[in-house]
Every structure is written in C-alpha cells, then in structure tokens.
C-alpha cells in the first residue's frame, strides 16, 4: 500500500464548500473548528482559483518536528495523526504548518485554547476503532471501514482527490493531458517534496 495523499485541482474547484460541509457533518466538528476549508485566490477577479485546504499529511511533517510533547505519529499509510490525551494545546504546530491545518477549539469563557484538532484523513486516532471515545476525540474512522476521506468522496467535480498517491496522481496526470493545462498541483511540493521522514537512529534526536 502506497501512502495516502490529498490532491487539490484548482482548475476544477468551484468553491462549493461541499468538502467542508462533508467534513463537518462526518465528524461532528464543533463550531469554530475547520479541519478543511476552501481558499479562493483573486476572489471576484476573472480567472480566480479555489483550492480545498486541510492537513496534507506531509512526508516530512513540520508539526511532528516542533511538537514539544511528541504527540504526533505517522501510520503505515502515511497519515499524520496525534494523541489528544498528550496534546497541551501550545500551538507550535499551528505556526509550523504551511497549510494552517491545526485548529484549536476555544474552551471556556476566557477563550482558553483547547487541544489541537486537525484533519485525520478520516483515520480516527489512537483509540479503539469505532469506539465512542475515538469518535468524540478524532471523528469517524472511515479508513478502517475501507473508505476514503468524506471530503474527497463527496467532491462533486472531483477537484479534491484523496487516496493512494499513485492512483490519484495518475488520475490527475490524465486530466492534465486531456485538458492541456493546469499541471500545477497546489501545495503538493510543499507537502510531499521532501523525502519521507525516517525515525532517527541517534538517541535524543528529533525523529
């Protein structure tokens, strides 16, 4: 199994926010937390481009590198997940992330920052699969159900592709050949340009 990736096709996105809604609905995301959002560049200008942005589950994830409590881990499918029981809500990952993926729910009357929440590639978290605790903390575990992320599967124009990197890049390559333009995949180089992070053999070093 190759690693899982997201691919946003700016030529196809019509800014319908179907992916955002699908994500919100699937995981019952609280108000104020947006695991996925649609960003439009040059909004209102002819030729505007929209892209759907969430955690890209980077090859060399900067959030993993900066986390002071090392609550991040990467699954064998290349999905970057974290343990909410360990997260201290410091916000370092938010500053490190090039996609602004980490979200922090506002807890309490004084706007306290809660534990970090982000896209899980619909893969749940380190709790028993399909358990109430997993759903409450991380949302639904579609990957364990043999399904792909709800946002990508819901996308009407298939601007957002999610799944096996080899398959989705093939789909995109064929599209580009057919239409003869729009070969730039936004965020792809930033997320997957670096080689896969290997655990460091040196004791005491960051993985």
């Amino acid at each position: 199994m190759a690693r899982m990736k997201f691919l946003a096709d700016a030529e196809r996105c019509i800014e319908c926010n179907g992916c955002v809604t699908a994500c919100k609905q699937e995981h019952e995301i609280p108000w104020g937390v947006n695991r996925r959002r649609v960003v439009t560049l040059n909004d209102g200008v002819p030729g505007e481009k929209s892209i759907s942005v969430a955690c890209m589950h980077c090859s060399d994830a900067p959030c993993m590198a900066v986390c002071p409590v090392d609550c991040f881990y990467k699954t064998s499918e290349g999905v970057v997940l974290h343990d909410k029981d360990l997260c201290i809500g410091c916000g370092y990952c938010f500053y490190a992330c090039p996609f602004g993926a980490p979200q922090f729910p506002q807890d309490g009357a004084f706007g306290l920052r809660g534990k970090m929440d982000k896209c899980t590639f619909c893969a749940g978290g380190p709790e028993t699969d399909f358990s109430a605790a997993e759903f409450r903390k991380y949302g639904r575990n579609r990957l364990a159900e043999g399904k792909l992320p709800a946002c990508a599967e819901m996308c009407a124009t298939k601007a957002l592709l999610g799944g096996d990197a080899d398959v989705i890049s093939d789909i995109y390559r064929n599209r580009v050949l057919r239409r003869g333009k729009g070969s730039e995949v936004w965020g792809w180089g930033t997320a997957y340009g670096k080689p896969e992070r290997q655990p460091s053999a040196k004791p005491g070093a960051k993985s």
């Binding site: 199994m1 002071p68 409590v69 090392d70 609550c71 991040f72 881990y73 699954t75 064998s76 499918e77 997940l81 974290h82 343990d83 029981d85 360990l86 893969a123 749940g124 978290g125 380190p126 709790e127 699969d129 399909f130 575990n141 990957l143 364990a144 159900e145 043999g146 399904k147 792909l148 990508a152 599967e153 298939k158 592709l161 999610g162 799944g163 096996d164 398959v167 989705i168 093939d170 789909i171 064929n174 599209r175 057919r178 655990p199 460091s200 005491g204 070093a205 960051k206 993985s207």
Partner: protein, 77 residues
C-alpha cells in the same frame, strides 16, 4: 504543654511528608519519540478481521471510483 505540642507535630510530620512520596504524575517526554497510545492498523478491527488484502481491495475500489473517465467504461477486472 510545649513538649506535648512538639510531640504532636512530630507525630503528624510523617503523614505530611507522605504526600511527597506520591508517584510522578507528569509524563517524561523522550525527545523525538511518539509518547502516546499505540494505534492499530486500519484492517485490525471487527470489520476486516485483520484481512489486509480485503482492506486494500476496498480502498482500491474507492480510489478507482474517483476516476470519472474510467467509471463508465467496462474494464477487464
């Protein structure tokens, strides 16, 4: 009177000090290592019962559905 007070304090002191013997409640973080709970593979559940191949086939089918150009055409498999 004073002697009694000293004795009473001396008797209470061990109980007060007992609080210091509590177990460390703070996680000791090892730099660069995931400290959280281990996660299982997506096929290690009641649905797939550890059948990795079945899980991969399910994911492959979902992957292929995303290719709308191939959706309508009959394939060999």
């Amino acid at each position: 009177m004073r002697k009694g007070l000293v004795l009473a304090i001396a008797a209470v002191l061990p109980f007060a000090a007992a609080g210091c013997g509590e177990q460390q409640a703070v996680t000791v973080y090892k730099q660069g290592q995931y400290q959280g709970k281990p996660d299982k593979q997506p096929w290690d559940n009641d649905l797939f019962k550890g059948d990795k191949l079945a899980w991969e086939q399910a994911i492959k089918a979902r992957n292929d559905i995303q290719n709308e150009t191939a959706r309508g055409t009959p394939t060999a498999n």
